[in-house]
């Protein structure tokens, strides 16, 4: 998987959780909770979806490392060795 694939996968799962988010206008530095208004259940469902799709289990202490699409893409790429 290329870093671009990983980013795309993350954003697809994010939009599944919050279908009103438009992936075309989503900015890489938007904060999942503060800007996109995901709540703790949304974050947990997102982390579970990523676990299923990419096989990466994100520990709770690492949640701050996926708090924006840019950070999440970098973190997941690092975890996947991409």
């Amino acid at each position: 998987m290329t870093p671009e694939d990983i980013r795309k996968a993350f954003i697809e799962e994010l939009v599944n959780i919050a279908p009103d988010i438009d992936p075309d206008t989503l900015e890489g530095d938007e904060h999942l909770q503060d800007d996109l208004e995901l709540d703790s259940m949304d974050i947990l469902n997102l982390v579970a979806a990523i676990h299923k799709r990419l096989g990466v289990s994100i520990a709770e202490e690492d949640y701050p490392r996926i708090e924006t699409p840019d950070k999440a893409a970098a973190y997941l790429a690092q975890r996947l060795g991409a």
Partner: protein
């Protein structure tokens, strides 16, 4: 025999629009089965039946906005026979009538003899009138269907709504426009909250609770779990509140003609919808669920609340409501009780704060729990005991 009627799903509901039948005449149903979907101000709700038996007849047409109490279908118990269509027709004309209360006449005493099992052609009965239910007749007129071209499967060969659909399938109901749905929900919230503030003498209590033990336990528990099995603090707060409510009867129940405490705790769980709006479906027997089960129930109702697929019992069964303001919110809220309930517990956002433990200042995770309660059902002293019970339970999270 049961007449399945447009249910009231809250103090604020006057009418609903029938959008889907999930049963057909001849289907067997039991108590709790979902038989229809109605569109309300709070989105589409799956309606359950309280009767067991066979669906004899569908009396209401899709797309009709019908007052609470309107007969929608007839369900016959074993060995029962449908009354002649004539008997039911008067009932089915109800849409224009004011909401029908339970004491309204049911079509239990057929005016004519029960329909015989005799073969009944869909042809015109003597006198040239094609037998059809009033709803089918109305619907056929709207859709420009000639009844003479339809084969009836209802009592006495009468044409019923399902026959029309078989002859001329209808397009799927259009998904309600989201902005309009939210505007409708705002009206429903306005009506229910105005009624609550008019009628319920609220009192409010606030209590600081140390969540450090619960937080530590949750962190350790989740560290060993894959994401899909992790718990949220919200599950602990809900369970602790439900357990405390089971012990403090005067905050758990309904106030209608006086206060009726409930033996069961069905916790209304407030779910905020993206884009605005709020709905609090009931999680049944919330005091008896394990934390994993509580978590699964929360996940389930959140998903269905957002998709607009809650069930009627979830709209009406709540005996107390719990609202968590989430991780990034404010400290506390003095909420408004959802009638006919008598209490609402709100948890603010937990924060790390200096707290005095054993005479020394420590950084602890703290949360403010607030209680809005009905003074007709309880007083402040009992409410205080209820909140401190929640606090006590949260100090021993593994026992939840």
């Amino acid at each position: 025999m049961g007449v399945f009627r447009m249910p009231s799903l809250g103090a604020d509901m006057e009418a609903g629009t029938l959008v889907e039948w999930l049963v057909q005449p001849g289907d067997h149903v039991k108590r709790g089965d979902v038989v229809a979907v109605i569109e309300t101000q709070k989105g589409a709700i799956e309606i359950e039946t309280f009767d067991e038996g066979e669906v004899a007849r569908l009396d209401a047409a899709l797309g009709q906005k019908l007052p609470v109490g309107t007969p929608l279908a007839l369900i016959l118990g074993e060995g029962e026979e449908a009354p002649a269509p004539a008997a039911a027709e008067a009932e089915a004309e109800a849409p224009a009538a004011p909401p029908v209360k339970a004491e309204a006449p049911l079509p239990e005493a057929p005016a004519a003899a029960p329909a015989e099992a005799a073969p009944a052609p869909a042809a015109a009965a003597p006198g040239g009138v094609i037998p059809a239910s009033p709803a089918a007749r109305h619907e056929a007129r709207l859709r420009g269907i000639d009844l003479a071209t339809i084969a009836g499967t209802g009592p006495g060969g009468a044409i019923v709504l399902a026959d029309l659909d078989r002859a001329q399938p209808r397009p799927a109901p259009r998904a309600a426009d989201r902005a309009q749905m939210l505007a409708e929900m705002r009206k429903a919230i306005a009506a229910a909250m105005s009624k609550s503030k008019r009628e319920i003498p609220h009192y409010y209590l606030f209590h600081r609770i140390d969540l450090q033990a619960a937080t530590d336990w949750l962190t350790a528990t989740n560290a060993d779990r894959p994401p899909e099995e992790r718990l949220l603090m919200g599950a602990l707060l809900l369970k602790a509140t439900a357990l405390a409510a089971a012990r403090s009867k005067a905050v758990n129940g309904h106030y209608t003609e006086g206060f009726a405490p409930s033996a069961e705790v069905h916790a209304g769980f407030a779910v905020a919808l993206r884009g605005g709006g709020l709905i609090a479906p009931a999680i049944r027997d919330a005091d008896k669920l394990s934390l994993d089960e509580t978590m699964a129930a929360m996940r389930d109702v959140i998903a269905r609340a957002r998709a607009g697929r809650l069930r009627s019992s979830e709209m009406t069964d709540g005996t107390i409501t719990v609202s968590s303001l989430g991780e990034k919110g404010v400290d506390a809220m003095g909420g408004i009780i959802y009638p006919p309930q008598v209490a609402l517990v709100t948890f603010g956002s937990p924060r790390m704060e200096p707290a005095v433990v054993d005479g020394a200042v420590q950084a602890r995770s703290m949360v403010t729990a607030s209680l809005a309660a009905d003074h007709r059902a309880s007083d402040g002293r009992l409410g205080a005991r209820f909140l401190t019970e929640i606090e006590t339970l949260l100090q021993d999270p593994e026992a939840l």
